[in-house]
């Protein structure tokens, strides 16, 4: 059974002008179907305003579908009784590292989630230690979050979710405000969690480098899923990606440009080695 199962998920909201009169209806998410299996590493790509963040908030029961359904670990999020269970099973990390840290000490921050779901004190400490070790932030447990770098703050935020023992973590552009080092650290931690703990990861991003190692990629535009497949399948469609004004990794772009110039190279090149192998055949 899928861990996240969206069926014809639609989310509409009413736009109002300054006087509160209805201006129109915006469909932020438009009949999205997705079936995500436990343990998968999923990437969702798309522009700001493509509906990807709105979709993500449905998985965490922060928003509820206008039409269609979404099941998280078999639980229908629209059922009010399920909300707390859904939020515990599908944790969410947001973009701005500062605006999601609540406590004044790192360890207390990680303990915040477990406290909310009523985990006994002894176990909270065990979970906090284990989650901080999992993201490599254990030595900072007594530090103030204000003294950490952006990447470190995001790792603490991830630990805060991990401590709730979720089956699935959704990350809404977690690296958008980080420098390249912070980004690399966060990505490493996510892949480790996915591999070692078997946690399902749903990563929302617009950085292409972060997509390459995903199991499956969804591309969203104007509220709809417009592309779906493995990274290789997605990056074979350079022309479409460009039309959506999304990036491709430079090596993919170079291979694509070469093939357009008449060099017979297969599509969907993802690494330097693949490009070299292709060019070797021509030598």
């Amino acid at each position: 059974m899928g861990i996240v199962k969206a069926k014809d998920l639609t989310f509409e909201y009413i736009r109002r002008d300054e006087e509160g009169n209805v201006e129109g209806i915006t469909t932020a998410v438009d009949h999205v179907n997705m079936d995500i299996q436990p343990g998968e590493f999923i990437a969702i790509l798309g522009h700001n305003g493509s509906g990807k963040s709105t979709f993500a908030k449905h998985i965490n029961a922060l928003l509820f579908p206008t039409e269609g359904t979404i099941l998280v670990d078999g639980l229908d999020t629209s059922d009010e009784d399920n909300v707390m269970d859904v939020r515990q099973r599908a944790g969410m990390v947001f973009q701005n590292p500062d605006n999601q840290i609540i406590c004044t000490l790192v360890e207390e921050e990680v303990g915040f989630g477990p406290e909310n779901i009523g985990v006994p004190t002894e176990e909270i400490w065990e979970r906090v230690a284990a989650s901080l070790k999992a993201v490599g932030m254990y030595q900072y447990r007594k530090a103030s979050p204000n003294k950490l770098s952006g990447g470190q703050k995001q790792r603490v935020a991830i630990a805060g979710i991990v401590a709730m023992k979720p089956k699935c973590i959704i990350l809404d552009e977690p690296t958008a405000m980080l420098d390249p080092h912070g980004r690399a650290d966060v990505m490493r931690v996510l892949h480790e969690l996915n591999r070692k703990e078997g946690v399902t990861v749903i990563l929302i991003t617009h950085y292409m480098e972060e997509v390459i190692d995903a199991d499956r990629v969804f591309v969203m535009d104007e509220g709809k899923v417009v592309m779906e497949g493995t990274p290789r399948q997605i990056f074979s469609r350079v022309e479409e990606l460009k039309q959506l004004r999304l990036d491709v990794p430079q090596v993919t772009e170079l291979a694509y440009e070469l093939s357009r110039s008449g060099v017979p190279i297969r599509s969907g090149i993802l690494t330097n080695q693949e490009l070299i192998d292709e060019l070797m055949k021509l030598k």
Partner: protein
């Protein structure tokens, strides 16, 4: 100026006082304030001084650090001294210009000064030895009985601790916005009061917008992590009284009894 205020600051070190339960420290501060206002006897104040000195010694917070906190309120102290000195009626001692200084005035001014200084030293000692989180925990649990009267104690404590976390962030943000507006030629230093007040708009508007945005995002992040008030919530660091806390309560009770005893025995005499 802002840097001089030690009230609300935490001084990191390890001492008996630091390790005490915050509820003990809150109660201690309350008892200290009560004894401070019991009477006007010199003996009473001697007792208070000894108590305060002993606690400061135990807390390992440098006296210099505590005294520095007084700088911020020096004007307030001066005001009170001057008022009491010149405006108290009684036996005249000497005259300055048109003002008369009385014997009673001198006594009162001295007492008010000592009271204010001790009050500030005593209360800053509490915040200097207690982390903000501990303090809010102490308030939440210590005032827990108010829940019976539908006072949202947990929510108030949560608000306090969030405020404490965001104060440094907002100060930094103010600095950033100020610099950004200065880069656009804004001038915050010249002109009359009206002009300066108007010059604050380009700082305050972005600051408020940002504070609201942060509040909005934080609320969502809290909800996403299953926050739903105090119901069914466990504590990572529950407050439990230890041996030292019990001893401290006994010491406090003893201190209060002795001070009340002195005060009654003296029956309102000053010396």
């Amino acid at each position: 100026m802002l840097r001089d205020i030690t009230i609300g600051q935490y001084y990191q070190t390890d001492s008996v006082i630091h390790r005490l339960d915050p509820r003990v420290k809150l109660m201690g501060t309350l008892i200290f304030i009560i004894t401070l206002f019991l009477g006007k006897s010199v003996w009473l104040y001697l007792g208070v001084t000894v108590f305060l000195a002993a606690v400061i010694k135990l807390s390992k917070v440098p006296v210099k650090f505590i005294v520095k906190g007084l700088k911020a309120v020096v004007i307030l102290i001066l005001f009170s001294v001057i008022f009491n000195l010149f405006l108290t009626e009684g036996t005249p001692v000497f005259h300055i210009w048109k003002l008369t200084v009385t014997k009673e005035g001198i006594y009162l001014a001295a007492f008010m000064m000592v009271r204010l200084i001790f009050l500030i030293m005593g209360s800053s000692l509490m915040t200097l030895t207690t982390t903000p989180t501990h303090l809010t925990d102490g308030l939440e649990k210590g005032l827990g009985f108010l829940k019976v009267f539908h006072v949202p104690v947990h929510e108030i404590a949560m608000m306090m601790s969030i405020a404490l976390r965001f104060i440094p962030i907002l100060i930094e943000e103010t600095d950033k916005i100020m610099k950004a507006q200065m880069a656009r030629g804004a001038d915050f230093e010249s002109g009359n009061l009206m002009k300066r007040a108007k010059a604050m708009i380009p700082i305050l508007v972005p600051l408020f917008i940002s504070a609201f945005r942060r509040a909005n995002e934080l609320a969502m992040a809290m909800e996403a992590r299953c926050y739903h008030g105090s119901e069914g919530r466990t504590k990572m660091k529950p407050l439990r009284y230890g041996k030292n806390d019990k001893i401290a309560y006994l010491v406090l009770a003893g201190y209060l009894i002795v001070m009340i005893g002195i005060n009654t025995a003296l029956g309102g005499r000053v010396i």
